[in-house]
Symmetry: C2
Subunit: 350 residues, 2 copies
């Protein structure tokens, strides 16, 4: 039975909070029947999330004919299930729908949801649930597999989206590339991966290294970054991922016009050049590693403003720059392939 999704974003349908919904619609369009948000019913996802074309926004599950799975479409800080959503989730279960979630609050730890699911014979899936207990050992890592990590100046700037676009473009050019998903949305898109922000901190690097070892028969791994080295709340996740994935190259992702750190708005984001320096220092402890391109997220500015910014950053940093959605990913794909052809990254001394 193929998955037919109704995506729940009730009261939270904006591009920032509903990024899980946006990405699933972008990359799993065929599976999406409707978005459920009674406060926005009658619109399309294109209008609200700038993606999905005519995917309808509906007010009730009755209007999502054919859907067999309710997907919780948000990723709020702390990952809690919004209180008003409980009734909707229970309603979906009672209609025989499976429920798929990526929150820190697990459906499968909730006695009421579990009892309802048993009664109606449906499956509850918590993408973030894991029992990772692997310690990073730095053994068996292949020197001939290029690992590219997306890093960022903040959380929620487009690292996952950039990673998927780069992987798809590399595949389209005939390269053996694989997207390594490290967050709940990436996992829902790719079908495998590890939710590293939910892994016990001692095992973050190890759980990433495990994925690298599993997939290094590919020529290029594009590893989904998380958070930011300068994020006061989530830098642990970021550094564990950096040291576990051992990238030879990094793509720096940032959002044009963002100056304060998400969730800690009284803290200013340092300049991009400084964040690049920090990432290169922390990534280069045991092998050379450098930022080879910039993925700008220009969704909040006009095409003209984006072009000016692109030129400014290119000139300032001397690196390729593009918005993978607005401009397409080719400039960064070229940068990755050019880097792959040079021998710089093969001089590994783990």
């Amino acid at each position: 039975m193929s998955r037919k999704l109704v995506i729940l974003t009730e009261g939270h349908t904006n591009p920032h909070t509903a990024k899980t919904a946006s990405c699933i619609i972008r990359y799993r369009r065929d599976e999406v029947v409707a978005l459920l948000d009674g406060t926005q019913a009658g619109k399309t996802t294109q209008e609200l999330l700038a993606v999905g074309g005519d995917v309808p926004v509906v007010a009730t599950l009755d209007e999502a004919a054919g859907a067999n799975t309710l997907l919780l479409g948000i990723a709020p800080p702390g990952g809690k299930i919004p209180g008003p959503w409980r009734a909707i989730i229970l309603d979906a279960i009672s209609r025989g729908m499976n429920v798929l979630a990526g929150l820190h609050d697990f459906l499968t730890d909730d006695a009421e949801f579990v009892a309802a699911a048993e009664k109606h014979g449906v499956t509850l899936t918590d993408v973030r649930k894991n029992e990772e207990r692997t310690i990073a050992r730095r053994v068996g890592i292949r020197d001939d597999c290029l690992r590219v990590l997306t890093v960022g100046h903040d959380c929620s700037v487009g690292k996952m989206l950039t990673s998927v676009e780069l992987t798809n473009a590399l595949k389209a050019r005939g390269h053996k590339a694989k997207f390594i998903a490290t967050g709940q949305t990436g996992i829902m898109v790719e079908g495998d991966g590890c939710p590293i922000d939910r892994v016990i901190s001692d095992f973050v690097s190890g759980s990433v290294e495990k994925m690298i070892l599993q997939h290094q028969q590919n020529d290029i791994l594009i590893v989904e970054g998380q958070g930011s080295l300068v994020h006061p709340s989530y830098s642990a996740v970021t550094l564990g991922l950096l040291h576990g994935s051992l990238p030879q190259a990094m793509i720096m992702c940032y959002e044009v016009g963002r100056h304060c750190i998400t969730g800690v708005e009284h803290v200013k984001i340092p300049p991009l050049a400084k964040i690049i320096e920090l990432n290169e220092m922390m990534a280069s402890l045991t092998q050379p590693s450098r930022v080879i391109g910039i993925a700008m997220n220009s969704r909040r500015v006009s095409a003209d403003e984006a072009e000016l910014e692109r030129e400014r950053v290119r000139a300032e940093l001397g690196l390729p720059v593009c918005d993978v959605i607005r401009h397409g990913p080719d400039e960064l794909v070229d940068a990755i392939l050019k880097f792959k052809e040079c021998d710089e990254w093969k001089m590994v001394s783990k």
Copy 2:
């Protein structure tokens, strides 16, 4: 009923692996009846662990008269219970002893241990068990509380011991100081704290910040460091702790003669000056923070060699240096108090 401990280190009684045992004996000597290790029976803990005086090493629980609690005295990578220990733990439970552990493998998740404990009416305690779900917010942090974090060039170099010695010495000089325990052994010594290497990675900084907020009525907090920013396996824990505790000053801990990273021995430890630079860069993103002294662990070298090394490092780094056990902590305590008197650290811009 006061706690009377028999400490289990069967087959693992060396200063490195049995660091939980060593620290409990050092700081909770009154509570310790004996160490249990049949492979070393008849010796004293002083001979094996260089601490504890005449605390006996025994081969069976029969020889630990009066003990009411079995404490698991090791902290191996990954935190698993050694297979041969199961029978000893079950024996202790059947004798009516409580069991106290700090491993990643929880006693309270083990059906056989739980059933035995219920049958015999004893308590199983897993110090590392936690449900931390706090996100760091950087709100409400007092500018008049000096936070000193112990950092290191590797794991297991003496950060916990240094932190306790500094806190005790500050208290002895009449200062209102508090040791913030962040690991299982520190928690067993102090009686409170948070096992941050067992916290879900998204919440590491938040769980540390929570302790800072709880205890900032003190003048000085000495925060127990974990791992190292350059440790490929555990740097996530280290950076989360650094950003969660927001130290204005750091004490760099290192072991004389250690050149390779514990558990990843094919990776060399960078020079101390480089590690200091990395810690200062990562700690200074939102406020000034610097390393103000060096805690050397000289257990593997002679007194003369230690003195030469001390002079060498003092000259190289221009910082106070001492081994808090061999030389006493006064030089570092002076450095902390001198730093506290200057106004440098009060210029906070979180």
